[in-house]
Symmetry: D2
Subunit: 355 residues, 4 copies
């Protein structure tokens, strides 16, 4: 969207105005990672050299992430991250910090477990943290810390993140907004234009089967059925909404290491037309998830910053365009999401004029 | 669209209110054709039996079409068709007749030839017909006769049809509307949702290659390069409009007789994302053109009738949703076409209320 | 293969010389089943009418199959099937009866369970049957009865069938042959020509991912993970053998009811060539399993009958051409299997001459 | 095939024993070309650096190719190439030189033209050259010079090359062998395993449609219909041979520049099984032609050298495995070609032992 009238028109900060930092639990340092991406064909071969200095500067701003914490340690971990965020904002002299969660997929929160119970309100959550119940999954721990530090949050991965009643309550109390969740980069992106087409043409979809072959770290995480649950739930929701009915068909996510940073998705749609005649559509999407995600992450960060600047609070439904499982919006069809985004950007742009 | 709020909401006549007639140049009678479709799996096996009486009734209303006519014979042919249309309206006691062109694809009009010159205005056309210039291609001959008989026209095939200055002038003089052209049933339908997706996501399309394997009569006609010219021109226009730039890649239409009434289209899209990384999408559409076209033809006929009833004149841009090469509209993206159609239907529906 | 020089050249009985009977556990009678196949587009619409008499005659020869039996009932069930086979041979005045197992896929035999222990030798098996251990899975129960009745066996489904030491011992004692297992009709058929191609061209296969979408009864059975185990094991074995190494990649079998008697398989092969450059092949196979299986079943029955006639005993490795998981052969490459079959047919044909 | 028992078993010279030279009409020097291949992802990024010295050495041995020559200049061009070949052999102290034609595709020889007449015998050819008839197309000019210099020839591109009566006569007189033509690297390779599968399984192929999207220089050449004629003829021949009948369906070769050194081929096969039921197979091959061709060229050069060493003369039918349009063989099925090659290599290997 870089050259479409999105963030710019909204009056969002330019990419060059951003300062990048982060938390990371492990893994090689940033320059090494970019070198690996260059080797895998994801970024141009010369890039690591050209950006050596910038990458080192960002690496220096990356702080240790929070390891899975038990008991009272979770409150301490949250406090440490909150402090990191405050210091980052001060030291860099920033107007605001947007926390974007691009970590690996975590498992969904068991709906009837103690964690869900603790997440039901801000008070219950504080209580559970105090007594060492360690109720927050990793993605929500960062959101909690972010909201306490006065930072809006965008959740690019599936999993609870900021979308727990307790955290939403906290965000609203602080006058913050949040966006999410699960960046829509590939197969689901296609579904969000193809499913409305079938509906508008009254072509009844009989089954929709989906296979995702992923290499890379994401594929490995998703080969764990517990984590995959978040993802397949997130991917499935939209189809039902766009077609107005449940649709049969498997949804597989498979780890195929040799694909590296690339992904191949195959979908088979069986549908029927006039007088029941059977037809089919199949597509193969061969994409590079990181390359598809990167510009979205930039746009989301810029737009969330702008939303925060003009005082938007609550879930940013206007950013549904970017997500598989949008917060603050029931809309899954890409074109309707696009229209909503364009309108919202225009409105934010006008606010800028008045300022 | 039968169960979506299109024609019904617009206050269009119901399918049961329609009386079907037509002109046909040759071929087996209608009951035989339906039997052939049943054999080819396009309609249920029992249908020809169930509809025996209705099909015979329609067959009785089909009049001989106009054979290619030279010299002064063309004016006579036009007069005969006009007379047929008037008599059909009278004998059946109809409020109005909509002429839908579902004939085979004809060649485009050579832009600098005498026919194009004659078609430049109603006066020039009349003059050319008088002196035996036979300037009208088949699809336009019917449109000419239809307009003279006071009938709106919908052009479901590629080719000039009603879209010649002389005919448009005549239609406007009679206060008539027209719709077209070239029904969007398969590969182009997909392009009209996928191309906007690439544009909205700022994924630069590097090439878009299209192959259409068609059996049936349409495939045979289109294996004639002269006729195919209309089709490929019609199919190509939209992509440029939706992507904002010319896109490389072949566009083939091949006649593969064994496919019968079915069609298989394969498209290969090469595109690039962040920092130029290359990706691809390919799809295969296995559809039944007749089954995809039939409900569109019904909706178009009903909506054109309704437009005529409420006094709409000129090209019906709101029907762009149905066409590869829409008249009265520059919009090729399906979702925008859909929005325009829904709004237009709602407006026509309100006119009905006031009546 | 009907018109290729297989069974005919081998001197096998003609299709017209066969008399069909069978055992079936349930389901509608044969004429009704054929009517359902006609409705699903698997056989011509007129066929059930044309074959009414023949189908009724076969239906009259179908005997109740053996329900899952416990304790001593299993010996009784086996005795009843054996008796059915003897009577069928006598009443129809047949030279021999070939038992072909085309039942649904059953689960594999747990390798360390009591059933496997009992199947280790003919004596142990008899003992287990006597004491009511009911050691035989359904497919093996029929094979047991068949061998006792002096009938060769062909196993067209996955699962143990005749391939248990105890049964093989019994068959050899009776001088019988057997063939199997798991008819190679679709995706595995393609693998058996594509994998040798990669090997012969020294193109290293990096991953091979397979998805099978099946409607119909077979799909339903295979949606049960226990039964699917037999199938995926059977499908996986060949690839390793043909490529000389294990290959990563998922193998899914999914039940997609709306596909009816048809199946769609998608395979994605990632491979590398000179100096490690990455390439890919993908294919989609849209086939009708029943229609692909039927001629193979006929050929297998005829060839097994012929093998029995000329006194072949033991596993019929020459029939590997027909099977995913061939008995008596380590060969999975189709062309090598074809060569072996052609040679074997020629040899059997010559035996006929000498007779 | 590098690690399969082909050239090595045949006693062919090792890759390390080869000395590379060549003729080239134009284009950047070899090190630059390899750098371009590295940029296009065809060879590893570091390769140009590692091989700098070797590439410069080969570049130094590349001689100017023959520009299209008219009149008497053609005889002079041939003499110059012959002299180049002799000098290369002497200066490098080589046992023998194999000339492999890897030039761009040239047009086929018009069957009734003067060139074809001149190519009918060695005498007529000499006469035509003497009188300035310039009868030889480029690919045959090199073959002519090679044979005069005592070198066997392998033709990796389509076009006449050594396959003209006059040249074959000359080769036989010199006791030379030749191989060709048109390396089988992609879509045709797949056809050569899939078509035999359909035949062996008695699945009647109803249509076979092929689309080849090529970037790179080869694609550009083949977008010229005259040159494409050689290629499509070469590609079409095999299918007829393997299926035993003509098969309908288009065969397209399209130039899609953005694909660079890569190629995407899509084939759609419509076939029928038992009682006429319709099924389909489609595949997409995304390959790198240069990377697929390179190891074949090495194997062909080594095997042709070995054949020359042991005194084979005439067309090398045993090398059909490598070619779309094999000389000296009617066999197009890959597995049969493979068997023939393996056997031939074994025979040549044994000759080595006797020496």
């Amino acid at each position: 969207m870089a050259d479409l009238p999105g963030p710019d028109r909204a009056g969002a900060p330019g990419v060059g105005d951003l300062v990048f930092g982060g938390h990371d639990v492990a893994g090689p340092p940033l320059p090494k990672r970019v070198a690996m991406l260059a080797e895998g064909g994801v970024v141009p071969a010369g890039l690591p050299g050209v950006l050596e200095e910038e990458l080192a500067a960002v690496e220096a701003r990356i702080r240790p992430g929070a390891a899975p914490s038990r008991g009272r340690a979770q409150r301490e971990a949250a406090a440490r991250i909150e402090e990191d965020l405050r210091r980052f904002r001060e030291e860099e002299g920033l107007d605001r910090v947007v926390v974007v969660d691009v970590s690996s997929t975590g498992p969904p929160l068991p709906p009837d477990g103690p964690a869900a119970a603790a997440a039901a309100s801000a008070d219950l959550l504080e209580e559970a943290l105090d007594r060492g119940g360690a109720p927050l999954p990793a993605s929500s721990l960062y959101a909690y810390a972010a909201f306490r530090a006065g930072c809006p949050v965008a959740s690019f991965t599936p999993g609870p993140g900021p979308c727990l009643p307790a955290l939403e309550e906290a965000a609203l109390r602080e006058g913050l907004c949040w966006a999410g969740s699960d960046g829509k980069t590939g197969e689901t992106l296609l579904k969000s234009v193809l499913a409305p087409m079938f509906a508008q043409r009254a072509l009844r979809v009989r089954s929709w089967s989906s296979v995702n072959l992923l290499g890379g770290g994401d594929g490995e995480t998703l080969s764990d059925p517990a984590s995959a649950g978040s993802k397949t739930a997130s991917k499935g929701r939209g189809l039902r909404s766009m077609l107005g009915t449940d649709v049969a068909g498997p949804l597989h996510i498979d780890y195929v290491p040799d694909l590296g940073d690339f992904k191949t998705a195959w979908d088979h749609v069986s549908f029927e037309g006039f007088l029941g005649v059977r037809m089919s559509l199949q597509f193969t999407w061969a994409g590079c998830d990181s390359a598809l995600a990167a510009p979205l992450v930039l746009d989301i960060a810029r737009l969330t910053a702008r939303a925060n600047q003009v005082g938007e609070t609550g879930p940013l439904g206007a950013l549904a365009f970017f997500f598989k499982d949008p917060v603050g919006s029931q809309e899954h069809a890409l074109s309707a999401q696009w229209d909503a985004l364009v309108e919202w950007c225009a409105r934010l742009g006008r606010e800028g004029e008045g300022a």
